[in-house]
């Protein structure tokens, strides 16, 4: 555990590295192939777009706070909900998981960098360009009623609404092309993670001694390979239809809109598991450290993660219960969807069992992970409700579904991302985030989240569909919508506090040292921030918690691990 910091040019030391000008500093970021810098680039990119997509959400909630509102025109509202969804899934979700993955995976397995550093840089810049291209749509061209050409066909872009006949402008083209480009970036990142985890582990780190976060990144990356690619294929088909006069989804030529639906959801469902699995990995790192216990049931957790990935590829048509599949088809997908709840439930039980008998310290990372456990339980249960196909015939495309997936994406995924920030920010920057601001962030966000998304379940059950820019005053949805919007405001304030915390703590945060949380995985053995080469000597490990073994030489893990 070297405590010395060697001044290395190009790293993030706050000590000025011998006269580097601003231009040289910027240049070092643009040309870097260092996984840590690329990870930070991904994460900063994701944070910027989190704020942008959050602003889009706020605008929508202002529009929906009262019935028959005129804050946003229908065209702009439709662009906003399409962009909010597309941005959050691709520009925030996918980038942040590969950002955190890029940063941590080599450190956690005792490697110097990723397997393919240049592919790493290429993947990032492709994704970054794709996202910027998507946002260029707001200003590129006049579009309908001068609203710009941002995609406005929902983030699942059903055919034939996306056909040139029904959407003659360039909105859909921006959507398809930017995501095709980002898809290749994601593919590169996934290939890199797999190659790194399989080929660059330090001595002694068998696959079953990898930290669970690395396992989850491996499973995520494997799933990504067969998840993003169907979307790319479908979007290529869409572009062929729109630009080369193809007929893939042209009902009059014999094509079928329902084929788009199948292809999109074959991507779309495993995609949400691609997003949530790294969040599970984060929880699996934070919860043990703050409970002061090893994770309960490591092999079961690995098996459950792989199980989730496999089963998730068989459930996609639960997004299509209302399209007129046969009763046998509906029954099959209802069953497979219920089955994916089983390995997911197992994970929740294992996390609770980890906390059982522990000495739980509720620092901010643990606050977020505990709330995650509660919210993910609720999300799973509403997911089971939606799996019950006849009930889904009522709930599909209603605000109940929006509530469900925000419980999984905001209440579970984002909460775990926040936990990751509070947990690893000290490692990345060398400073602790303010606990005080962290607690403000947590409680405000928790309250706002529940105010918004608990209420949303009810307005959905009262018949309010999604994707509507306004609603009638006599449907009984007014008060509920108002409170949903209020909750949104509270969440926005919490996120701003978080952003302020990130900025302020960089300069004024407490010095972190190597291992502020008394944790057990390899990244905590390096200085904070780590030098460019990560490890002065290649580590050799003998168990899942190498630092535990060092701190407890009389009671090391390798005596007990299965």
């Amino acid at each position: 555990m070297a405590d010395q910091t060697y001044p290395i040019p190009g790293t993030l030391d706050r000590t000025p590295s011998g006269g580097a000008t601003v231009l040289e500093w910027l240049h070092s970021w643009v040309v870097t192939v260092d996984h840590k810098k690329l990870g930070i680039l991904y994460i900063l990119y994701a944070l910027c777009f989190l704020l942008v997509a959050g602003a889009e959400a706020m605008a929508m909630r202002i529009q929906l706070a009262v019935p028959n509102n005129h804050f946003l025109s229908p065209e702009l509202f439709n662009e906003f909900f399409t962009m909010h969804g597309t941005t959050m899934v691709f520009l925030v979700g996918m980038t942040i998981i590969f950002g955190i993955g890029n940063y941590l995976v080599p450190l956690m397995i005792g490697a110097r960098d990723m397997a393919f550093p240049r592919l790493n840089a290429f993947s990032f810049w492709l994704s970054a360009f794709g996202g910027l291209f998507l946002y260029f749509s707001f200003i590129g061209g006049f579009g309908l009623y001068g609203m710009g050409n941002a995609p406005d066909v929902t983030w699942w872009a059903y055919a034939p609404l996306t056909a040139k006949a029904f959407t003659p402008g360039h909105n859909t083209d921006y959507w398809a092309l930017s995501l095709i480009v980002m898809g290749f970036g994601t593919l590169g990142a996934a290939i890199n993670i797999l190659a790194t985890a399989f080929s660059m582990r330090c001595r002694g780190m068998t696959l079953f001694r990898m930290p669970l976060f690395v396992w989850l990144m491996v499973v995520t990356s494997g799933l990504t390979l067969i998840t993003i690619t169907p979307l790319t294929a479908a979007q290529v088909m869409l572009v062929i239809d729109r630009y080369l006069g193809g007929h893939f989804f042209d009902a009059q030529a014999g094509g079928a809109p329902i084929v788009w639906m199948h292809f999109f959801w074959i991507f779309g469902h495993p995609e949400v598991y691609v997003l949530i699995l790294p969040a599970f990995g984060i929880a699996s790192e934070v919860i043990p450290v703050f409970s002061r216990k090893a994770i309960f049931g490591y092999p079961a957790m690995v098996a459950a993660s792989i199980g989730i990935a496999f089963v998730s590829t068989t459930v996609w048509a639960h997004h299509m219960f209302t399209v007129g599949m046969t009763s046998v088809g509906n029954t099959f997908f209802a069953l497979s969807t219920m089955m994916v709840g089983i390995p997911t439930g197992i994970k929740i039980f294992n996390w609770i069992a980890t906390m059982w008998g522990g000495k739980i310290r509720f620092a901010t990372p643990m606050l977020f992970c505990t709330a995650f456990l509660f919210q993910f339980l609720c999300a799973g249960l509403t997911g089971i409700m939606l799996a019950v196909a006849p009930w889904d015939w009522q709930l599909h495309n209603s605000y109940f579904v929006i509530a469900h997936f925000h419980y999984t994406l905001t209440g579970s995924f984002l909460f775990c991302m926040f936990a990751a920030f509070y947990y690893w920010y000290p490692k990345v920057t060398g400073s602790m985030l303010s606990e005080k601001l962290g607690k403000w962030h947590f409680w405000l966000f928790f309250i706002g989240f529940h105010l918004t998304f608990d209420t949303m379940h009810f307005v959905g059950m009262l018949g309010m569909p999604r994707s509507i820019y306004t609603y009638q005053a006599d449907r009984g949805w007014n008060t509920l919508n108002f409170w949903i919007s209020m909750g949104g405001m509270i969440q926005a304030i919490a996120v701003l506090i978080f952003a302020w915390n990130l900025i302020r703590s960089y300069r004024y945060g407490k010095v972190a040292g190597n291992d502020p949380w008394d944790a057990w995985t390899l990244e905590w053995s390096t200085p904070s921030p780590p030098p460019a080469y990560n490890f002065a000597e290649d580590p050799v490990v003998r168990s899942r918690r190498p630092l535990w073994d060092i701190k407890h030489p009389n009671d090391p893990d390798w005596k007990y691990e299965r």
């Binding site: 216990k293 069953l335 249960l381 006849p390």
Partner: protein, 348 residues
């Protein structure tokens, strides 16, 4: 507190004739429950779904209580206390028996849930169509609903009339769902789950409303700019009301010589390219059938109430109520618009 002078109780002899009048029917229905809640089913499919949902809620609730309870217990009981000894707690790495237990129990729960679900799926989707069923073809357009009754020779728009179905006289309505352009979805929560309208992919659903009244719904699959204002009104009529309505709808358009000017404008301007009025030369199918326009409570698929002023504003510029609606502003002079509105308001 002064005693308010009460109104005399309404006599049935006064009430029933009023009810038979379409206008009165509308206002009574307006006062009825207008929230399209899935928790207030009035039709067998919606009822089946509701009862299934209660069962699922019960199971989910039980799971929630147990797991959230465990979580709460763990948070409180194993919270780090000040002055805790410096050593770490006992490290427990796992337990095969526990893992087995909490795998088997969820599997059993899934089996129960699945069997119940499958039963309801088959009961609703594969219910055989009885001979007494009323057939309605629903065609989704951007942004309005076309309703055709093939057995009765009726074409109307946006407001569906169906007979009430009782134990003694079961009369379900079977809807055949088609689309003229993009994907839509027919959703009237109190009458049943939603089913999509997909071009070149006919779908079917059925409802058997057990209580008269007006039930609201709207399109539930994003179909473009004005998806939000593609509303549905379903009037569940008593048998007599329904027969009255059918008879009226089967008549050709009212021929009132007082508004011949307006009718002439309608037939010679672009109106006839998109709209049909039976008994005139207007046979367009791109827009709603207007033969009995005044029998409807709303225009523009619920975007505005059906009043002469709204009709005028709509014809002058549809973007007033529904920016992005596919009907163009008709560029008629004020005088012409007045004539046309006067004509349309005779079409009962």
């Amino acid at each position: 507190m002064q005693r308010r002078r009460g109104l005399p109780p309404i006599q049935p002899q006064v009430l029933i004739p009023s009810l038979l009048c379409t206008h009165a029917l509308r206002s009574v229905a307006e006062g009825a429950m207008t929230t399209p809640s899935i928790l207030k089913p009035v039709s067998t499919p919606a009822n089946e779904i509701f009862h299934l949902s209660l069962f699922v809620l019960l199971i989910s609730g039980a799971i929630f209580v147990v797991v959230a309870g465990l979580l709460a217990f763990v948070i409180i009981r194993f919270h780090e206390r000040r002055g805790d000894a410096e050593h770490e707690p006992a490290q427990i790495y796992g337990s095969a028996q526990v893992e087995l237990a909490w795998t088997v129990i969820p599997v059993l729960i899934v089996v129960v849930l699945f069997l119940t679900t499958a039963r309801v799926i088959f009961a609703i989707q594969d219910a055989p169509e009885p001979k007494s069923a009323l057939d309605v073809t629903v065609i989704g357009h951007q942004f309005w609903w076309e309703f055709r009754y093939p057995g009765l020779g009726i074409v109307t728009a946006n407001e569906l009339h169906v007979p009430v179905s009782t134990q003694q006289r079961p009369e379900p309505t079977y809807l055949r769902l088609l689309s003229a352009d993009v994907d839509h979805s027919f959703w009237v929560p109190q009458l049943g789950g939603k089913t999509d309208l997909i071009p070149n992919h006919p779908n079917e659903m059925w409802i058997d409303p057990l209580k008269t009244g007006l039930y609201r719904g709207q399109c539930a699959q994003f179909c473009g700019v004005e998806h939000a204002l593609m509303l549905i009104r379903v009037y569940v009529d008593t048998p007599q009301q329904f027969d009255e309505w059918v008879k009226n709808q089967q008549q050709p358009g009212v021929q009132d010589s007082a508004v011949a000017v307006g009718r002439h404008i309608f037939e010679t301007e672009a109106c006839m390219n998109c709209h049909t009025i039976e008994g005139t030369s207007a046979h367009g199918t791109f827009g709603p059938d207007l033969t009995h326009l005044m029998s409807r409570a709303t225009i523009a698929a619920g975007a505005a109430t059906n009043t002469p002023d709204n009709l005028r504003a709509w014809i002058q510029n549809p973007n007033t109520f529904k920016p992005g609606a596919l009907m163009p502003a008709m560029q008629l002079s004020d005088q012409e618009t007045d004539e046309v509105v006067a004509y349309l308001t005779t079409l009962h």
